[in-house]
Subunit: 499 residues, 2 copies
């Protein structure tokens, strides 16, 4: 299965597909006997890209080597992709120092913070030569390394197919299109998919000039720059115009750059509903269910990585206000917050984790009774328990400051058994698809959050049912296959359009 | 002198002009003998509006009463504007509690912070019912009060003139256009001039929905919404489209709203160069000059209100880095920072003042010698000393996070006697006019700041002269009269266009 015509008809030629992402679909290791083993990765992006990979037998997936055994596979896969199950992978080994600079200085926190709007601008960031070094000695060489791997894969792949389709993913790899064009010219189709929010021009301008302009110029050497929402795509087009002064057609999602036309498009990422329905019935999840269902009262749930963008603090504060306004809700609800630890070595994240614990104590001290603990905080990575909670929640709180998509909202909706109500931030990417079936909130407004939680907890059963079913339908209908198809369709249309 | 035709020709009719701003041109008091006295206000906006007021004998200026004697004048001026020197003023007395909510909760900090991008979004703001109360019981009634005063002034003014021109100013009065239309209908010309940055849609969305949409809908009931730069005007048009979904023409600066056409326009505010040239020769300034000129080495200067938007901290940090990189500059330069205390009762500002003092100590401890103090910090309001420093600086640092215009850059350029170099933030409004003659910096990049300061301090004399003269010329040519004329011309064009 390869790129199809815009009408969804027969494929025109067998263009080889190459997927490029920092994190890959498998990690290799050795067992006690010294035999190579591997584990398939999980997570939203990997699930989605698996669906791309399944479209074509010959698809090759290029990713960073992250273990010693990965590094060995990287060496072996320089000539020929390594086959494992249904996948063909080529791993890229990076210089450790360069990778660290790319990942821990440039991508996280800088790009992550800028794209989620997390900086306290009067105080941070303090950019400078460290940033430039991370760019020049980390981000650029790692990205070039990826481009080199793509070139090798294409050289080793069977001739006779059409021009390759190269699908590059996310904010660690913004400079890959630049290096690809340097090596391969204009012929291959290149897209870069941005899985986090794209900010407004004012936000993007926080970056030092070489990053600000360098990233944009690289992205504009792709044919399609893809996002989860139309809002991000529009922000991107504006950013290109304001920062580079290039000609754009915002409504049409087009940027003209160096004589070429670049499309900015939205493809809201989805999940594999079947995967979650299966999981929901797995022993691991069933074992966890009583621990979730035995919590007193209705279940208010949040499941998040512990990230500054997730707005965890205001979630507890809004809940506290709800209990103040509606003391009759005491003992009638428990707020279960499952927060996977994340980036604890970054001082901002450590401080945030402390602030969260304090906020939880405050609510529990103020409103708790001998029998009843208003908030149950779980700061461990317990995925089966999360899925058990997905099944059982009455209200799911997703109140992110900003969030590329938020897949929890989709995963949880699919397996929930209680006609649970979604309280959803205006600034989560999921808003564009799910907003009309959720209670939308301004994530900065505590009282609006409190009112939304209360409205959700007390919503009439019929209304809950109507919304919950619409959510499920929406997620089930926008399958991950459709996500892939929409992209392949646009690739065909782009090629047709540009002859 | 009244509104002219688009060709700058004769005025068509004697449309009465009404200026509306929170702070007025005079404050009244009583001297010891109980006689009413007054003092003329200073400051950029007042200077600019004086120039508007001078255009027409009949112009009336409406402002808030801010003293007991103002309140008496407010009572007296309900029937007929109060005449003082060349001005006709009508003061508005507000309920004290309402004014406090408008000013200290809604306008500052909320609108100020949002429009300058100063919030640490993972933690602040925490909006809620307090915000709603400040809006409903403060901002709205104070703004309605202003609209009532406009109506009274128009009723008392001589008939026979054309439709009135009502020029409303700044972020304290965003709802005035709404209340004016409610009272006076569509006939009067109404503009609202925003003197602070207008953010991108993502920034504006931080506001609670009733403010976010309420302010936009009110501004779109004006005929012209005016800004200092094209960038702010574009941001405004985008914000209207993204938040309200209205039809816009961004290039043309047009928003279509409820069957009407609203223009978004930029008129970069200026200063009265003559006023500063005179000031520069005044005794008060001459007395201060030695205290400034006796500082050792070249003079690096900043003059700012102590505001989180001014980026004072990074200024000292960048200077410290410059001294580290160029130890030969030690004792060759003194950084004089004149920071007028401001909003010290807001905790964020008190914390910022502390951080500034620490940053200064750090630089002085690290680099100072027995003879030489690298930074001289002056946290008092000493305007004559500031002007003396304007005359004497070698380098002026304006590195704001964001700044509506920054008039210091203009005032100082006009009177400077040393061919001083301007280091100017990309995010200061002055960048659009003065950027090409300045060294522009990304305010978040410490090393870029350090390099800019060093380049400015060591710039060849001829280059300095060329730039300094261009700066002076630019400021002198874009007079405050031109600022007024451009607006009046657009008013005439707007009226012609809309029949």
């Amino acid at each position: 299965m390869v790129a199809q015509g815009a009408d969804g008809g027969e494929a025109k030629n067998g263009s080889p597909i190459v997927i490029v992402s920092n994190r890959g679909p498998v990690t290799f290791s050795r067992d006690d006997s010294g035999t190579r083993t591997y584990s398939r990765g999980a997570g939203g992006l990997v699930t989605a890209l698996n669906a791309v990979s399944r479209r074509q037998d010959e698809a090759v997936w290029i990713a960073s080597a992250t273990s010693d055994e990965d590094a060995r596979v990287a060496g072996e896969s320089r000539e020929e992709p390594y086959e494992v199950e249904d996948l063909r992978v080529a791993l890229v080994e990076h210089d450790e120092g360069a990778y660290d600079l790319m990942y821990n200085t440039l991508a996280n926190p800088l790009l992550w913070f800028v794209q989620h709007g997390l900086y306290d601008l009067p105080y941070a960031p303090s950019l400078g030569d460290d940033t430039r070094r991370a760019w020049e000695e980390g981000y650029l060489p790692v990205n070039e390394n990826f481009a080199g791997a793509v070139e090798r894969v294409l050289e080793s792949s069977s001739r006779g197919g059409g021009e390759p389709i190269i699908l590059v993913h996310d904010y660690q790899l913004y400079m890959v299109p630049h290096f690809l064009r340097e090596r391969l010219g204009d012929a291959p189709f290149v897209s870069l998919f941005v899985h986090i929010p794209w900010p407004d021009p004012e936000g993007w301008r926080v970056l030092p000039r070489y990053v600000r302009e360098g990233v944009l110029r690289s992205l504009l050497r792709a044919d399609v720059v893809a996002f989860h929402t139309d809002r991000y795509a529009r922000n991107f087009v504006r950013t290109a115009r304001e920062v580079l002064g290039v000609e754009t057609d915002e409504e049409g999602g087009v940027v003209r750059y160096e004589g070429r036309e670049v499309w900015a498009r939205a493809y809201p990422i989805s999940i594999d509903p079947g995967e979650f329905e299966e999981l929901a019935e797995s022993d691991a999840v069933l074992e966890q269910e009583s621990s979730v269902r035995d919590l007193p009262g209705k279940l208010l749930l949040r499941i998040d990585r512990m990230d500054l963008s997730k707005n965890v603090l205001r979630g507890f504060q809004a809940y506290g206000r709800m209990l103040e306004r509606h003391p009759e809700m005491k003992e009638e609800v428990t707020f279960l917050a499952g927060l996977q630890p994340s980036r604890g070595d970054i001082p901002e994240y450590a401080a945030y984790a402390d602030a969260i614990q304090k906020a939880v104590e405050e609510v529990n001290d103020k409103h708790g009774t001998g029998e009843w603990q208003p908030v149950v905080l779980s700061m461990e990575d317990n995925f089966p328990r999360s899925v058990a909670a997905y099944k059982a929640y009455d209200v799911l709180l997703v109140n992110a400051v900003r969030d590329g998509m938020n897949l929890v909202a989709k995963e949880a909706a699919v397996v929930n058994e209680e006609n649970g109500v979604l309280v959803l931030s205006e600034n989560a990417g999921a808003q564009e698809e799910l907003g009309e079936f959720a209670i939308s909130v301004n994530p900065f407004d505590l009282d609006e959050g409190a009112d939304a939680i209360h409205a959700a907890l007390t919503m009439p059963e019929e209304e809950k049912k109507r919304r919950a079913e619409a959510l499920k339908r929406q997620v089930r209908e926008n399958t991950i296959e459709k996500w892939v198809e929409a992209q392949l369709k646009d690739i065909a249309a782009y090629r047709e359009h540009h002859g």
